[in-house]
């Protein structure tokens, strides 16, 4: 009697113990990660809705539109996404304060798509110290991909700027080996990354660069820089400039009667910008400009008329941002990057933890993003944290970018940068 009682007691204890062990192994982990409840996932971000970079605020709105769309179609594994997007005015201290608020007051599960190199550099130590994912930051600096050992909770998304410039360098070496290159660049980390890429790409032929001219974002226009470059005898122009200044550069070459071979960086190649340049400077000056592409262009109606991804984009825009300009590539960028975010959350399953989401984000093969250029695969692995590395060169033919050649994977070059 007594031994059997003892046995029973031991059994009960064992069961209770194993229950406790399982409980302590699973429940606290779930409870430990804020921002996830039975029916909600809270994501936080900051964008410049005011100030000099406010055009990029539309990226945040595009993200919100896609999350609304997902929520109206059942959410992610039964949970709706709550998207809290704040205005940082492109100011690092402001962003740091807002991110503290998002993490500590709003209890966000992850920080997503914060924009700008300085902003993201400023918030990165805090988020990594807190163990909050800093997912898919909207900047192409190389540090997001290469410094993951020090900052495991941070990851980028778009192609890094250096790789893009390397492609231009390779194109010059192949097509115009005797070129004399002039460069106009924005005097900040963006311009510096592009210049470094160009020099790396040229390798031993760096002396092909005959003149470099910089501008500040506070400059009213860049025609004097273009005049300097023209006077240097350059016959090839690299435009490493944000849209306003890129348009000015193209118009100024036309006005000054200069006909260099032009390479135009990706951030300024949206068709509306090209139309603006054509209107002010004359369409014939723009023919033959070379750029790179990794996303679909919402203003390119001819090419994407029957594209299901573009139809989805237009449907989302019409329903959730009816007043927004569909041709603004910033919205499309937002929808596209939000697609990757939702994809990662879906793959993480019902049992969401920050660690799990980070692991999936850094070990991802996404082939079906509807808005990247056809064939581009978003790919990461634990040792390679550059999600998009494929780009294609394209030439401007009067009204449209015509892709030439094949998609180039810059991953080997990107990795060499380490």
């Amino acid at each position: 009697m007594i031994p059997s009682l003892r046995k029973a007691a031991a059994g009960v204890c064992a069961v209770a113990f194993s229950l406790t062990v399982t409980a302590s192994a699973t429940i606290p982990v779930e409870a430990a990660d804020p921002g996830v409840s039975a029916n909600e996932i809270i994501l936080g971000g900051t964008h410049p809705f005011s100030g000099p970079a406010s055009a990029y605020g539309n990226i945040g709105k595009g993200i919100g539109a896609y999350f609304d769309y997902v929520n109206d179609h059942g959410g992610v594994n039964g949970r709706k996404i709550k998207w809290i997007d704040k205005d940082d005015g492109y100011s690092p201290p402001q962003a740091v304060q807002l991110v503290h608020q998002l993490v500590e007051q709003e209890k966000v599960f992850a920080i997503f798509d914060t924009l700008g190199t300085a902003v993201n550099t400023a918030i990165r130590p805090y988020l990594n110290q807190q163990g909050v994912p800093q997912l898919y930051v909207a900047t192409g600096a190389t540090t997001w991909g290469k410094d993951y050992k020090q900052y495991p909770w941070t990851i980028g998304w778009q192609p890094d700027y250096q790789s893009e410039a390397i492609l231009y360098a390779q194109d010059v070496l192949r097509e115009h080996p005797k070129a004399k290159i002039g460069v106009i660049y924005q005097n900040d980390d963006y311009g510096e990354d592009m210049n470094n890429g160009l020099k790396r790409g040229l390798g031993s032929h760096q002396n092909m660069i005959v003149k470099m001219a910089s501008y500040e974002t506070s400059d009213p226009n860049v025609s004097s820089q273009i005049a300097t470059l023209k006077a240097s005898g350059a016959d090839t122009l690299m435009i490493f400039a944000t849209p306003k200044f890129a348009i000015q550069s193209m118009v100024a070459t036309a006005q000054q009667g200069w006909h260099p071979t032009i390479y135009l960086n990706n951030v300024s190649n949206a068709i509306p910008y090209m139309r603006a340049a054509a209107k002010a400077g004359g369409a014939q000056f723009l023919n033959g400009i070379v750029t790179t592409i990794y996303l679909k262009d919402p203003a390119n109606h001819a090419r994407y008329a029957n594209d299901p991804g573009m139809k989805l984009y237009e449907e989302i825009m019409s329903k959730y941002i009816p007043s927004g300009d569909k041709e603004d590539g910033n919205y499309l960028y937002g929808v596209s990057i939000a697609y990757t975010m939702v994809d990662v959350l879906k793959r993480a399953g019902k049992d969401l933890t920050r660690k799990k989401v980070m692991d999936i984000a850094a070990n991802l093969v996404e082939k079906d993003n509807p808005l990247v250029y056809p064939g581009v695969v978003i790919r990461t692995s634990p040792n390679n944290r550059f999600p998009i590395t494929q780009m294609i060169s394209a030439k401007w033919l009067g009204s449209d970018w015509s892709p030439s050649g094949i998609l180039v994977d810059t991953r080997p070059m990107t990795m060499a940068a380490k």
Binding site: F49, P52, D85, P92, Q105, T117, A118, T121, D188
Partner: protein, 338 residues
């Protein structure tokens, strides 16, 4: 005095009441309040308009950052150096300011604010260029039972208290009277033997010291400085804070600090798309209904609720509210030529 004690007690207990991210925000309030105090003394008391105090904050922030980053100096050692550097720079700018009056001085100082980011980018071997510099987070000295955030909070507010105290002692006697006299009627002041060069330059210098200290406490909690940290908008923000808070009184500096820190955050709750619109509307409303700023408005309110025979007003009788409108400022700045 009672008011000062109440506010000091409130500042002492706040970090134990409010959530931790608000404690973090309040550190920035201290920084803003110190910087705006400099404007209260320079613009409110002496009539010199500066749209370039963001540049002094940048200098202060970068001095601390460079000393910590390159030379491994602790923050507490960097702050006094930042104050000295900004004081010297402020005296220099003050000498230039003597030759400029009113809106010309505002524009000249504004050019300082606009040039600062380019300057920081140019000397990248020292400043880290566009990418800026990441700093070590604040550590608590051994033996002090506080978490780093509350420790920084108390450090920032202790320095703010010191800044207010020293400023109060400076402007209370002869120095303060000379500043006001030069603002209200420079000709009369000079004929009474007030040397405008000395006093106006010193006012600029001290104001820059305060801005430099503020810049240090703007940079340390962020643990990061970059040219974007000190954009020209910061200078305008400071002046807006001074005007909204009340540019005629030290209380205005404190309230201005609270306003510029929290108004954008509150404005976002009102309208996520256009915080700057809310900001602008607030500015217009204050100018229409309480031209002396919030501090002036509170004094008026207190008088209306509890009229006392002759309370020593915490706000100086403002030239706007009394007789001479903005001309008083212009008059104060008009260059007294010998």
């Amino acid at each position: 005095m009672i008011r000062v004690c109440v506010v000091a007690a409130l500042i002492a207990v706040l970090p134990w009441i409010v959530p931790s991210f608000v404690v973090f925000d309040l550190i920035f309030v201290a920084a803003y309040a110190i910087a705006i105090l400099g404007l209260v003394i320079l613009t409110g008391m002496n009539g010199q308009i500066s749209l370039g105090h963001g540049a002094f904050m940048a200098l202060g922030g970068y001095v601390v950052a460079v000393l910590a980053h390159a030379a491994g100096w602790p923050y507490w050692a960097g702050v006094p150096i930042a104050a000295l550097a900004c004081g010297a720079f402020g005296l220099l700018i003050g000498l230039v300011a003597l030759r400029l009056a009113g809106v010309y001085l505002a524009l000249a100082t504004f050019s300082l604010a606009v040039a600062t980011p380019s300057f920081l980018k140019h000397y990248k071997s020292i400043t880290g260029g566009f990418g800026g510099m990441s700093l070590q987070p604040v550590t608590v000295p051994a033996g002090i039972p506080l978490d780093p955030q509350r420790w920084l909070y108390y450090a920032a507010w202790a320095v703010a208290g010191l800044a207010f105290l020293v400023s109060a002692l400076i402007v209370r006697g002869k120095f303060g009277r000379a500043l006001r006299a030069l603002r209200d009627n420079p000709v009369a002041a000079v004929s009474f033997g007030v040397n405008p060069y000395v006093y106006k330059t010193l006012a600029f210098g001290w104001s820059a010291v305060l801005a430099g200290v503020a810049g240090a406490f703007y940079a340390i909690p962020t643990a990061f400085v970059s040219p974007d940290t000190f954009s020209f908008a910061l200078s305008i923000t400071l002046l807006i804070g001074a005007v909204l808070g009340g540019i005629w009184t030290f209380w205005g500096a404190l309230l201005g600090g609270v306003v510029v820190e929290f108004l954008p955050l509150v404005a976002q709750q009102v309208n996520a798309g256009a915080p700057s619109v809310v900001y602008g509307v607030a500015l217009i409303l204050v100018m229409m209904f309480v031209p002396d700023g919030i501090a002036g408005g509170l004094v008026q309110l207190a008088r209306r609720i509890a009229p006392r025979p002759a309370p020593p007003p915490s706000a100086e009788p403002s030239p706007i509210a009394t007789s001479a409108p903005l001309g008083a400022i212009g008059g104060g700045i008009s260059d007294p030529k010998p």
